[in-house]
């Protein structure tokens, strides 16, 4: 690594620390939220420097994009400017406990990680890649070697959406006050690009960085952008429509793939010989669709109405 790389990494680390401090300690909540979004973008850059482009994509779309939009619209609902000031600012608790405790944790982690041998499992993954059905090691880990983790993670996303729905109806109106008249037009223009990028990432996943999580994240973020640009959310909570099926699709398909292995007399989640490639592509499409829709559902902050958004509903 050249000197320029070292200088860049040090600057990146310093900027991340400063932004994290701003995000947690700024007295003005708007300031804090913007710091958080910039933190997410720089974090994506850090993942690129660590040669983990898959994580960088997901971090940019979810950490900066979807979470940032969620925080901004939550801020929009805090009515007065007075309440935007940090009401939970308790210097006593912060300096008396949280900052020393966090500092001790960081110190212990740094000391422990300083001389970590980090052997990793790269060789094992490469050795088994030939029979995994895909050529990209990250996809092989996520949808073959450790597919059980992925199943449970999609379960966590679906569960989170159900938990948010259980808290009540989605607030109306969902769209924050629009500062720029150009945004709706721009959002509509951009959405096809989001769909295209998501489809490309999904297809790429079998042999290069990409796959269900980044593709779903990009598609979900695009849908949220459409919503911010004034589109009416089309998702319904009605039992009759397809939405609950699509939300559950990823988990359903992963469970089915797992059980199919057992029914075929093999191990749980063991793909029949020669079918791993097509099966993984199928699972990726299902999981990507569900992830995109689940991220969008999380953004609605509540259960959408049964019969259309601003309909009379319950």
């Amino acid at each position: 690594m050249g000197v320029a790389g070292v200088i860049f990494d040090v600057l990146l680390a310093l900027a991340l620390t400063w932004l994290a401090w701003q995000a947690t300690r700024a007295a003005d909540l708007f300031h804090a939220v913007v710091s958080f979004i910039v933190f997410g973008l720089l974090m994506a850059l850090a993942w690129v420097r660590l040669e983990a482009p898959d994580i960088a994509l997901a971090e940019a779309a979810i950490g900066a994009g979807a979470t940032g939009a969620l925080l901004l619209s939550a801020l929009d609902r805090l009515a007065s400017r007075e309440r935007r000031r940090r009401l939970l600012y308790e210097p006593g608790a912060a300096w008396g406990f949280w900052i020393p405790a966090g500092g001790a944790l960081l110190g212990a982690l740094t000391l422990a990680a300083w001389k970590l041998p980090a052997p990793g499992l790269g060789n094992e993954v490469r050795a088994a890649l030939g029979v995994s059905g895909v050529e990209h090691p990250v996809t092989a880990v996520l949808l073959n070697f450790r597919a059980l983790d992925t199943l449970l993670e999609i379960g966590v996303l679906l569960l989170a959406a159900i938990t948010i729905w259980s808290l009540g109806r989605a607030p109306s109106p969902l769209i924050p006050a629009m500062p720029s008249p150009a945004l709706p037009a721009l959002g509509r223009l951009l959405f096809p690009v989001f769909v295209l990028v998501a489809a490309y990432l999904l297809w790429r996943g079998s042999h290069a960085p990409g796959g269900a999580f980044p593709a779903g994240a990009v598609l979900g973020a695009g849908a949220i952008l459409m919503l911010l640009a004034g589109a009416r959310p089309w998702i319904r909570s009605s039992e009759r429509g397809p939405w609950r099926w699509i939300l559950s699709l990823g988990l359903v398909m992963l469970l089915a793939a797992g059980i199919a292995g057992t029914l075929a007399g093999q191990a749980f989640f063991e793909y029949p010989p020669g079918t791993a490639g097509p099966l993984i592509l199928l699972l990726e499409v299902a999981a990507g669709l569900s992830i995109a829709l689940l991220l969008f559902a999380l953004y609605l902050r509540g259960e959408p109405c049964e019969h259309g958004y601003r309909g009379k509903g319950r």
Binding site: L105, A108, L109, L111, A112, A113, L116, P117, A118, P119, G120, L121, E124, V125, A128, N144, F145, R146, A147, L148, D149, L152, E153, G155, V156, L158, L159, A160, I162, T163, W165, S166, L167, E239, R244, W245, L247, S248, L251, V252, L255, G258, I259, G261, T262, L263, G265, Q266, A267, F268, F269, E270, Y271
Partner: protein
Amino acid sequence: MIPETAGPVILFSLPLAAAITVFIRPRWSVPVTLGASGVLLAAAVWVVGVVLQQGAWRHDIGGWTAPLGIGWNVDGLSAALLLLTAAVGLAGAVFHASRPAPLATVRDPRFFWPLWLFLWGGLNALFLAADLFNVYVALELVSIASVGLIGLAGGSAQAAAWRYLLATLLGSTIYLFGVALLYGRYAALDLALLTDGVERDGVTAVAAALMTLGLLLKAAVFPLHFWLPAAHGRAPPAVSAVLSAVVIAAGYYLLVRLWFGPFAPLLGTGVATLLGLLGAAAVLWGGLLALLQRRLKMLIAYSTVSQFGYGLLVFPLAAAGAAHPAWTGAVTLVLAHGLAKAALFLAAGAIVLRHGIDRLEALGGDQRGATLAWVAFAIASASLVGLPPTGGFLGKWWLAQAALATGGYFWLAILMVGTGFTAAYLWRALQAAVRPGREAGIDPATLSAALGLAALSLALSAAALGLAAPVLGVLLDAGPGAPG
């Protein structure tokens, strides 16, 4: 189909499949949940039977062996906790389905059932997992489902759910830091591989400290119990039952797995005594506060803080050389506590429904409609106190033997004083039944007998656990986790 893999596959898949079904078709919720619960109980009994017959076994997911793949590990300890989950899950589902609809405190019952089944699925995944990262994902399922279920009670329960969310996410994150350090050090996440490969060095010590801290927070061990009483005391009754009986036990289960597995070389007298002292403080502090409560459900919630303190006594007793009786005793106590505590919460739920209030002084008077619930309460209390021949007695007996064998008279004294506290606060609750009461509450005819029966079946199971001592001893000896 290989017969022994069918049990774990059903236990893992069925709750999740049922959760999706009742999410997509809410009006099928009750029949689907009750049907799935029955099958899950049968599958758990079957898994226990297989472990008793042929000992522990391992299933490699996807046919990939560790360190590349993830494994399921079924041994005596995990089978026992899977069975506890199924028993509490079935009784809780029956209780919740039998509540009189207009009185239901759950605001939106459509979402109770998917959350309930997701919680069950997360717990089963956790007890099966032999992989530290897979455990983390299962913990996330358990945490988020618990938060949603607590919040369903509305009002002040939502604030309690929020505090619980923050506490439990902090615990998960600290646990995950430890997992990452272990992976960076050993390139393995599998419990068995780590148990064979772990060395005593700084990185391992930091990882052990972080993972233990995270799990102590999740198991609500003194002084990290601050979030528990409000969350368990304000949730709907069936939710309180499963949270106190199984969700807390899941944190404790992982502590035992880790310290009798990979971290066993690090379990010196110092660490063991520290954990034991935390347990002793929990027994005394939780017992004292339970004695001071004025609401029935808060009394039972503080009792959970106190009872899990006994579980931590396993560490000093094992470090002193009595690993086997201490381990068997502590696990038995956790199982007996789970059954008895779930019975207490369900009984309390029925009693509170009858009287419309949960202040202790208002629970007297006409007990029609709540008689079965009070009987269940009394039997569960007997087990929690440790009267022979209940499961609570058996666990305390084994723990006391371990203390006597190693000269640990301090720990024996804690056991005795804690038992005194338990008897005192449960007696206070039972006394409320025979006081003259106010003539209020609802018509007893609207209360289904199933409410009391759900509590009674769990209370009787807690009592019968003591009679199953020989079987339980064999079961808990099966597996790599059991100290020989």
